[in-house]
Subunit: 229 residues, 2 copies
DNA sequence: TTGCGTATAATTGTATACAATCATACCACG
DNA sequence: CGTGGTATGATTGTATACAATTATACGCAA
């Protein structure tokens, strides 16, 4: 009840505010609204067929999520993610995914572990064939399972936020067969460590996994990947 | 401009929404509003002499900060922090403060370093005399300087959030002369490592510092401290 | 007495009207 | 020609009115 459980209310599909929030968030993350674009309350409201009130409330939330910046009496502007931000997030995630993997050792359920194994098995199939869209989905899901398995609303929420935040660039990092295969092998190693309840190893492997993902991203030209969107 | 810079707008003292946000936040953190208290828009509005609109917007922000939970069509309730949440946050902070200290080694300015030294010097004075209110202030400020010095908007924002979030319980952890002195000694060691640009040592010391703070809190009866508020 | 259903009150969700602020353009003046 | 000030329009900030939803209380029937 009194949990750190936020996303649920925010993403409320049945309130206008929630719909506006989701739509604008999507549009920012997908690149429809670009850095420094000005978001006007009336325009967004008309586009979605709602008044300014829910739009304004959604804006306040987007501001706290760091997706837009609101300048009083002036307007709402889309905040960009700089390359530095991406780097910072990956470094932070590296630490936190390690923690998450370690905690998952204690709390993962049999069902979650089985879904992980299935995920890895399926990912191998798609990785070999260069199905990058599916790979991206499976990668997201793998981490999502781990977030759920760590049994900490706080950490789960934090990691999910970052995961979403770097979505724009993350997809690119899996866009080679080599990296897809390597990434999946790393997933398998992490899963095995968690299965064996070896928290120390799980921590190290998950930490390294994010490090590798970042290194790979830099190597494959983060700059272009980033500026394309 | 396009920074991850949020707090500034939120704490805008000159908008009604900002005033409401700050007031309610204060009241929650200070314990005026207790866990599971229902916050009614009209009541808060009347108390501050404003209409519901700015109150609602402030509520949305408080929700994302995790201080209240909004149940659609029902109401806003003060979220409690469970002991598990506190533990999780300290574990996460432990990792991130380490990262922060390491980064600060590269980016800290001479002014920031000097303020740290001054902070530690002054804290010694107050610690010896059992001035816990001042200690709490100085402790907050020490960490704040480090957050600023790490040169990462993302990490700074993240750590500041957690710091605020556990404010309720954090004050209690410094409420003995022994812990105050020990804490300050740890601050000094961290500062010296940062001054010497020894990132590895700074990381370890900051990590340990938060660990110690948590251990101390548990020892001194987190349970009572927590349930008192 | 207990249980259910309806009516009423209270509260939140949304829309709109009005006030305040900011940006722009135009004109007067040096 | 350039500069400054004012007027006008656009946009956000706030208040209020209305709609929808939820909680509560009361009455009726089993």
């Amino acid at each position: 009840m009194q949990e750190f459980d936020l996303k649920q209310e925010v993403t409320d599909k049945y309130s206008l505010r929630g719909r506006v929030f989701n739509k604008v968030r999507e549009d920012i993350l997908s690149g429809k609204y670009k850095e420094n674009d000005e978001l006007k309350e009336i325009a967004i409201g008309e586009e979605l067929g709602v008044s300014r009130t829910p739009v304004r409330e959604a804006f306040r939330q987007l501001e706290l999520e760091g997706l837009i910046q609101i300048i009083p009496n002036k307007g709402a502007y889309v905040t960009g993610i700089t390359m530095n931000d991406v780097k910072d997030i990956y470094m932070i995630r590296s630490k936190l995914e390690g923690l998450c993997a370690a905690w998952a050792c204690e709390h993962i359920t049999k069902e979650q572990l089985e879904e992980m194994e299935e995920n890895i098995y399926l990912a191998k199939f798609h990785a070999e064939r260069g199905h990058f869209e599916q790979m991206s989905e499976l990668d997201s899901r793998f981490h999502e399972i781990m977030y759920e398995a760590c049994n900490s609303k706080i950490l789960e929420h934090n990691l999910r936020d970052y995961h979403q935040y770097v979505m724009r660039v993350r997809k690119k990092t899996l866009s080679t067969i080599d990296r897809s295969l390597a990434s999946n092998a790393e997933h398998q190693a992490i899963m095995e460590a968690i299965r064996d309840k070896d928290a120390k190893r799980a921590d190290e492997l998950a930490t390294l996994h994010i490090h590798n993902a970042y290194e790979n991203m830099v190597k494959n030209g983060l700059k272009e990947a980033y500026s394309n969107e």
